[in-house]
Structures are given as C-alpha cells and as structure tokens.
Amino acid sequence: MQLDEFFVTGEPLIYAGMVAIAVVSAAIVFLLTYFKKWKWLWQEWLTTVDHKKIGVMYILVALAMIFRAGVDALMMRLQLAFPDMNFLNSQHYNEVFTTHGTIMIFFVAMPFLIGLMNVVVPLQIGARDFAFPYVNALSFWSLFFGAMLFNISFVIGGAPDTGWTNYAPQAGAVLNPGPGINFYLLGLQLSGIGTLATGINLMVTILRMRAPGITLFKMPIFSWSTLITSFIIVFAFPILTVALALMTVDRIFGSHFFTLAGEGLPMMWANLFWLWGHPEVYIVILPAFGIFSEIIATFARKQLFGYKTMVWAIILIAGLSFVVWVHHFFTMGAGAFVNSIFSITTMAIAVPTGVKIFNWLATLYKSKIIFPVPMLWSLAFIPSFTIGGVTGVMLGMAAADYQYHNTYFLVSHFHYVLIPGTVFASFAGLVFWYPKLFGHKLNEKIGKWAFWLFLIGFHVCFFPQYFLGLDGMARRVFTVGPEWFTLNFISTVGAFTMGLGFMVFVFGVIYSFRYSTRDLPGDDWQYGRTLEWATPTPVPKYNFATLPENVRTHDTLIDMKEDGETTFDEKKLESIHMPSYTGQPFIMMAILFFASFALVFEWITLAVIGLIATIVMMFIRSFDYDEGYHIEVDELRENERRARGLDDDRE
C-alpha cells in the first residue's frame, strides 16, 4: 500500500483537520511534559477503576465527540444553506453525514448517559462502586479506543460514507471497496464490547449492591431507568455484534450474508440493524426520562407523581421497543398485514410515553418551582419532546409513512426526540450533578445563556425541516433546489445558534472552573431528594462512610433529613475494602485497538498477532490475585470530619 492511499489526500478541509490533530496532540504532549503531569495522568486517570473518575472520562469523551459531530452538522447545514453552495462535494457530504450520525449516537449519546450512570447510580443506591470496577474500566477504554478508531478514519484510509445505518448492499465490498466501512464496523464492534459489559455491570450493581432497605420499588427513578436500559443493552447489543461481525466477514473474508452474489440477503442487514437499532433508541431515551424525573421532582420540590406508573411505563416501553423494528422500513414491501401489525405496536408506545408526560405535568401541579439551569433544560424538554412524540405517531401510521419515509420530515422527527430527550437530559444531568463530580457548580448566568441559545436554535433549525420533508426534500441529498432555499437557510441559522449555545456552555465550564466557590454542603442544590446528595462534595473515593438505616421511600434523603440521619455515623464505622488501580484495561484495549486497526486494512497477520496478545492479556488477568486494600476507620473518621466541617473539639 502506498502512503498516499493510506492517508486521505486532496481535500483542503481534511488537511486542515490533520494539521489541527497534529497541533492539538503536540500541545497536549507539551503541556503534560511541561507541567510534569504524565505520572499524574497515568496514576490518577488511565489506571483508575473508580466509577466516578470513569464517569468523568466518559463525559469528557462525549463532549469532545459532540464537538466533532457538531462541526460535521454545521458543515452539512452550511452546504445546504444556499442552492448553489459548493462547500462540500457529494462524496465529502456523504462522509460527513455518516460520521455525524454514527458519532452522535455511539460516541455522544451513549457515553454521555453511561458517564452519568457511572457517577450517579452507585451513589443513588448506596453502593461502594460498580459490581466489577475492573470491567468498568475495561468498558470505558473499549469505548475510548472504539471512538478513536472510528475518528481516525477521516485522515487515514477514508471515512465511511453510507449513513449511520450502513445499509447493504451499498456498504458491501463490491459497491463500497476500501477501508471506510471497515472503520465503521470495527470501531462500533470495539466500543460495543464495552457497552455490553457496562450493561451487565450495571445490572449486577443495581440488583445486588443496593444499600439495606432500598428495595427495588424504593429505588430512585434514574436508577430504575438505568436498570431497564441495562436489560435492553444485554438483549439488543448482541444483535448488533452479530450484524457487524457478519458484515465484517462479508467484506474481508468474502462470505455472502448481505451480498447480491451467492444468494445473500441485503435486507437481512436492515432487519438485524433495526432489531438492535430500535431498542437502541430507547437505550438513549429511557435514562433521559430518568434524569428529567429526578430534576423535575427536585426543583418542583415535590414527590414525583405516580412513581410506580412511571416505573411500569419504562418497563412497558422497553418491552415494546423490541417489537417495532419494521417501522423503519415500512416501504420495503413486507405486505399490508405485517405493516398493520407494526403500525399498531409503534403507536402503542405513545401510550406509556404519553402517561409519562402527564405524570411530569402532574408533578408540577401544586408544586413550588424554582428555575436553576438543570430545571430549565428539563422543563424545555416537555413541550419540545411532545412535538417529536406526536410526529413519531404520525410516522408510525404506515400508509402515511410512505410519504414521510427518507425525507426531512423523518430527519426532523428524530432530532426532535433525540435532542430534547437525550441531549437536553445530558446537559441537565451534567449541570445537576456537576458539583458531585468536580466540587463546584457551573455559573448560572452563563448556563442560562447557553440554554436559551441552544433551545431557540434547536427549534429554528429543525421545525422548518418538517415542511421541507412534506415538500419532497429527501434526506442525505448534498444539494437542494432554489425552491427550498428559505426554509433551509432558516434551518442553517438555527444550527449555528445551537453551535453558539454549545460554545457558551463550554465557556461556562471553563469560567466556573476558575471562579465558582468550592465550599459546598453536600446537598448542593438544597432540595436533593436522593442518596447521592447525602455524601460530602466532592464525593470521597469510598463514597459512603456509613449507610442510612431507615429507608422508607424512594426519596431516601428526604427520609434521612426527617430522621436527622447522615452517611457518617461514627459508631458504625468499619474499614472499607477498595480495589487497586490497574493499567491492564487500558493496555488490553490499546492492543485490541491495534488489532482492529490492522483488520480495517485487512492486514490479517497483524490482526491475528493483536488478537493473540489480547488473549495473553486475559490470561494475565486470570492469574492476577490482587486483593485490593482497605481504608481504615481512623482515616475514614478524619476524612469525613474534614469534609463535613465537623470540629474535633466539640465531640
């Protein structure tokens, strides 16, 4: 292979990207060396097994990836802003919308939510950490290296260009030779390992590590949504694993699963992809529902209305999510009967979702609402998501879907559910739990600017797209006729407003890092309802010195406040077992990254060497009998007193 085939050449934007990557990498290396932080990086972050730090790293990856995929989005909107635009040519546009969609789903929505779960779920249920901290680290590094592998495609080898759905036979070896699609297949496969492991890990954590008294139906709603999400992950992700593996084998080893030759079935890809893909939609929306429920109850200063109904609604949605996949291709010609059945199941999802909307509204009834930034995001979710929801029902009506399918009506619909749902929830959750992560709050004023810019930009960007779709504008076209200029231009203005909102948000993070007060009480918003707010801020590495004894409702902290209980009862202190940090997960996934990279370019020998090295790493792990260490009572007492501002003399 020639060097000019290895690196992508000929595109000024991509050269700019290469330069940017080189400059940023050099800057990072320089800063780490200059401030002598290499050791700190390795000891505190790369080897950590602490769920809070891993959660932070997930969120950092998600934010970096929002930036990457957001730039993709703005490039697309720029190209579509004017009818005679030639900013991106067709091929480049195709690559950009593919990476935008793939990154937003796999490397933004998923890691952002999993990051928040990492930080919050063990704290909400009173657990020391995840059930398997080592596996948790492994999960993160698989996501990290999966994201790396996917992202380097645009400078090395060429980016995938068949959309995030990667339909066969368009994505097969015949119609799409070259490494681009391999990057998609192997990048997602690598990060998928981690997602599945996290699903299992969270399930065991929630099922087995709840503090005494926290029964399943006394568990905070975010933990509930996490538990159900983990169920979906465990049963849906293996389908994706198989689909990706089969297409990889098709492309690299010449099998005939999805090919036209050899009697393969290209439509089977669509079926497998959406058998995973629709549950995936709920993997990224159910935790969002959980986050909104927590925040709305907190700042309405009122119990969540219909807690049990909410839980059952989540369970019902999760169940239905596995029986609606055909609605993604009603137009495939499966027949009237099949389409009717899937129309009904699809519309049925609106029932539990509608119930949830009404329960949130009822939570606000007779409440005492205050409006800090997390609450603004949560309140904005309700009306915005409703539009996405009702258009979803419209899309579910198969006969009408023949007219919406593959158009901007659909594009607008799924942005109307994913942005108010997942993205608003991610921002809301991040701002809400930020003090638990970093020990200080985000600036409220900057946060409100970011919120309003993003919200208005969002509606301006996507509302016109419904009408573009109804007027016949197909999705994924790289240029549009002049008759659609006005609406497209408005949409582009909205997109850039959202971009500005995000930049303001990032500015708020930097500003707050410098100027926010550090001395926080633990229950940092004053109205916390659940156990995470009972810990000191920032959360000590062992989480809880002691656990509450008398849990009566799902609002654990409200009960504790009534009883005057805290998570520091000196009489009950016992030493706490901690796992040791280890570099193995990082190294193992780095090796797997190189194996996958070799496979992308079909360097089979190298790939096999990498796989063998990975298995050797698993052997090393199997023989590793590290027992961890204990934090002794004295250290606990001293640490908790300092964190809670208790004076030694008064005792």
């Binding site: 590590m209 005939h256 699963f257 009697e263 079935l265 052997f619």
Partner: protein
C-alpha cells in the same frame, strides 16, 4: 461492605464478590443466548440459499454429527462431575474430571475441524453461498467458544494446581462449568436445527 463469609453456602457463593460474579455471568449467558439466537435466525433465513454450491443434504454426515453430539454431551457430564468433586472438597477429583472434559473438548474440536475441511474439499466453504456462510459462521462461532473454553480451562487448572480450592478458584470453576453447559445446550440446538433438519429438508 466487608466480605462476610457465610459458611452454610458452597465456597463459590461464600463471598459477596463471588455471588456477584456468578449473577453477572448468568446475565452474560443471557447476552450469549441473544447472540446465538441471532445467528440461528440468520441461518434459518438463509436456509436453502445455496446458489451454485452443493446442498446441505448432499454433504451432511449423520455419523460425525452424532459422534460430536455424544462427545460434547459426555464432556458436559464430566464437567458436572468436576463441580460435584469440587463441592465434596476433592481437588484431585476436580482436576481429573476437568482434564477429561478438556480432552473431550479437544476431540470435539478435532472432529469439527475435520468436518470443515471435508466440506471445503467438496466445494462448500464460507465463500460458496449465503447458506454455507450461515452454516460456517453459526457452527464456527460455537467452535470458537469451545476453543476459548478450553484455553480458560487450562488457565484454571494451573491456578487450581497453584492455589487449591479457595473461594476464588471455586468461583472460577463454577462459572466455567456454567459456560461449558451453555455451550452444550447451544450444540443441541445446532444438532437439531442444523444437522437433523438439514438432512431431512
């Protein structure tokens, strides 16, 4: 949150971490069920789509499939005996039965490799047609699982030799046992769903 040793339970269940590992592994098995179910579905959908390559019925040999089934079922039985010895506290019994299981697993793999080579010589490979792709990936994935199981078993045998019966080693053996039985169940589905149906239809 300290390790509370509970003496009424078998050793592998005696620590909280042991219990969680076993629960976690059960959930992992559920994910594996979803994985194999997808592969079975793929195989079923592609059934008969042989293009120009030979039909399944022409190539399948009932004798070999039956022998492989017998070997794997026996290995599952010896694996069960290994767990039984472990519960009795007999390290020697455990290791002997694990060795037998290992040997049977290797024999099974040998037959499978022979079978694949034989089909290839008759003109049915991964690249021949959609049906044969489905066949080789389904049985091959099972075969890779058996291979990994064998490697895992070797690692555990070494650890048993080094450390004897402890809460940790017992847990590992127990989980390996679950895995091995699971592979057996999958094979029974392959035997009926692939070989028996393939020979009849």
């Amino acid at each position: 949150m300290t390790e509370n040793n509970n003496n009424t339970l078998p050793l592998e269940y005696s620590t909280e971490q042991g219990q969680m590992s076993i629960v976690g592994f059960w959930i992992f098995v559920a994910a594996e069920v979803a994985l194999f179910a997808t592969l079975f579905a793929t195989y079923a959908v592609l059934f008969g789509r042989t293009a120009d390559s030979p039909e399944a019925m022409e190539l399948f040999q009932p004798g070999i499939a039956l022998t492989m089934t017998f070997i794997l079922l026996t290995s599952s039985f010896t694996c069960g005996l290994a767990i039984h010895s472990m519960r009795e506290g007999s390290l020697k019994g455990l290791m002997i039965f694990l060795f037998i299981t290992l040997a049977l697993g290797l024999t099974f793999l040998g037959f499978e490799i022979y079978e694949f080579v034989h089909y290839a010589s008759e003109g049915a490979t991964l690249q021949s047609s959609a049906y044969w792709s489905g066949f080789f990936i389904l049985t091959g994935t099972h075969g890779v699982h058996v291979t990994l199981g064998i490697g895992w078993m070797i690692a555990i045998l070494i650890q048993l030799k080094q450390r004897g019966l402890t809460a940790v080693t017992n847990r590992k053996v127990f989980i390996l046992g679950l895995y091995w039985h699971f592979l057996d169940v999958v094979w029974i589905f392959i035997f009926t769903g692939v070989y028996l149906i393939g020979m009849v239809v």
